[in-house]
């Protein structure tokens, strides 16, 4: 008897394009009501995974069950119960905001009266009511993204899937989108999202998997991942270019769980950042800047893959 609280179940899920393996035998489960994230750099296989979940990309191997159904044979029935926010906006820019929702609602076979009622509510929710009868073309990137989110909710989906929901947005527009997504999550909407922003993953995801090279490198809540793969605090030091290498060698004397020497910085993974800074001073090293901070998912990613998220 399958567990009705598990909405998506993947076992050995694989996607190949010719010789290239984009998604390499991954396992995960999505539970009802949670916000689940795929964190990884560009090319990690996140979008390919999302397209398979969205039933617009047949898996090359493994098992995938969505809402108890098989995406290959029951794709249309599954898509009827999903909301999808693709990486690139696929809005019709020549139509009005309202017409975009009308057309999309009709794709789901919703009656016009139902669409009209939901349109009012959804545009309120994404703060676009005043632009309802404007064309989409002149809207800002953030507004278009919010409209795409409103559009994805027109069928009152059981799962909302978002592929890089804030990529390309300025910080302010990004925060507005996060706020809306956070509200959806609080209202019990099940979210699946991909991101290469660790702050997005930390703020929105109850549980996430770190993806790299088509594989899942680690899984857990943001807190669990940080506790498992990083230290409590991080001391970030920056030296002048000609001192950098020398300083990095000397820093080996500072007791730390781990030291990462990046091109422009040295990161010391420690329990107590201030204590570590005192030892650095004791070595007669004088960094240009120093910063004590908490560990983030960025540090988890660095630990797991040896690369930074933005490196791609």
């Amino acid at each position: 008897m399958p567990d009705p609280e598990i909405l998506i179940r993947a076992r050995g899920l694989t996607k190949r394009f010719g010789q290239f393996t984009a998604v390499d035998s991954i396992d995960f489960e999505l539970r009802r009501g949670e916000a689940f994230g795929f964190l990884g750099p560009n090319g990690a296989g996140k979008s390919s995974t999302m397209r398979m979940i969205g039933c617009v990309s047949p898996p090359s191997g493994g098992e995938l069950t969505i809402l108890g159904l098989d995406p290959v044979t029951d794709g249309a029935a599954i898509r009827a119960r999903l909301g999808a926010v693709p990486q690139e906006d696929t809005l019709d820019v020549e139509l009005t905001v309202r017409e975009n929702l009308l057309v999309y609602g009709r794709y789901f076979g919703l009656p016009r009266a139902v669409i009209a009622e939901r349109t009012g509510r959804l545009l309120d929710f994404v703060q676009l009511s005043e632009r309802a009868d404007d064309h989409v073309e002149p809207l800002s990137g953030g507004m278009k993204r919010r409209l795409t989110i409103a559009r994805s909710l027109i069928n009152e989906p059981e799962i909302l899937i978002l592929d890089e929901p804030t990529t390309g947005l300025d910080p302010q527009a990004r925060h507005v989108v996060w706020d809306r997504l956070f509200r959806l999550k609080q209202q019990g909407v099940t979210l699946v999202l991909t991101t290469h922003y660790m702050d997005e993953a930390e703020q929105l995801c109850d549980r996430l998997v770190v993806m790299d090279g088509g594989k899942i490198a680690a899984a857990g809540s943001p807190r669990e991942l940080i506790d498992t793969y990083s230290s409590r605090e991080v001391l970030e030091l920056r030296f002048s270019t000609f001192e950098h290498d020398q300083a990095a060698e000397k820093l080996a004397a500072v007791p730390a769980e781990r030291t990462e020497v990046l091109a422009d910085r040295v990161l010391l993974y420690v329990v107590d950042g201030d204590a570590a800074m005192a030892s650095v001073r004791g070595l007669a090293l004088d960094p240009l800047t120093s910063l004590v901070r908490r560990s983030t998912l960025e540090d988890v990613f660095l630990r797991l893959t040896g690369r930074r998220l933005e490196d791609g």
Binding site: V56, S57, A77, A80, D92, R121, E156
Partner: protein, 277 residues
Amino acid sequence: MTAPALRVRPSRPGTGVAGTWQMAVRAFQYWLVNYRRTWRGTIYSSVLTPVLYLGAMGLALGKLVDQHGTAGLGRVSYLVFLAPGLMAATAMQTAVGESLYPVFSAVKWQQTYQAAAATPLKPGDIFRGHLLFTTMRLAMNTMIFLVIMAAFGAVRSGWVVAAVPVAVLTGLAFATPLDAFAVTQKKNDQAFAVIFRFGMIPLFLFSGTFFPVTQLPGWIRPVAYATPLWHGVALCRSLSLGTADLAGSLGHIAYLAAIAILGLIAGERAYRRRLYV
């Protein structure tokens, strides 16, 4: 500003999916909403183009042609000879115009197809929905053409009414394979200019629209007879002149329908391969 709470009520399992025909109609509705912005302009050109052609070629050039005798035209005036052929050719032009760029735009520039593919619509539904709109545009343009043709006094038989669905079928014999082709284009629209220049224009000029194919050198006539446009032109003309016979008409229809159906099968496959990657 605080947003109102959003009611979350999961939809009933099984809703949102319907029969093939209804799904295509849903996709068709997008094109209707879209057409609300542009219909006026298209009506002007649907009226003006036949008036210009029938005036310049049918009447003015026709006067000159008629002075030299109409035996080669089947003893009707050039206007009467030309008009039904032009009806079929207009359908071809409409079909090409509604297929190449709109399909490429929907799959590449605007990604309206991808938006629809994320809903219960399947690639085949999206394809057939777009084709329904093309069919509507073909029916509109052909009927407008018929009215103008009648106003020019270029009709000899009431059977000309049957030329409308024949012209629509002629258009579909172009639209389905061209849709199938256009949706596979990945990078740009360069191939379309080639189709216009080396496909549509020669067909328009040499498929019996402006002069009987018997005027062509014997060796090239089989090529003209093989083109779908010639079948559409020949059948529309025989209906307009009242000279159509059953066997010949069925032959033309079968040929046009066969191409349209092959295009339908190819299109279904091409849309699926492009939208389900």
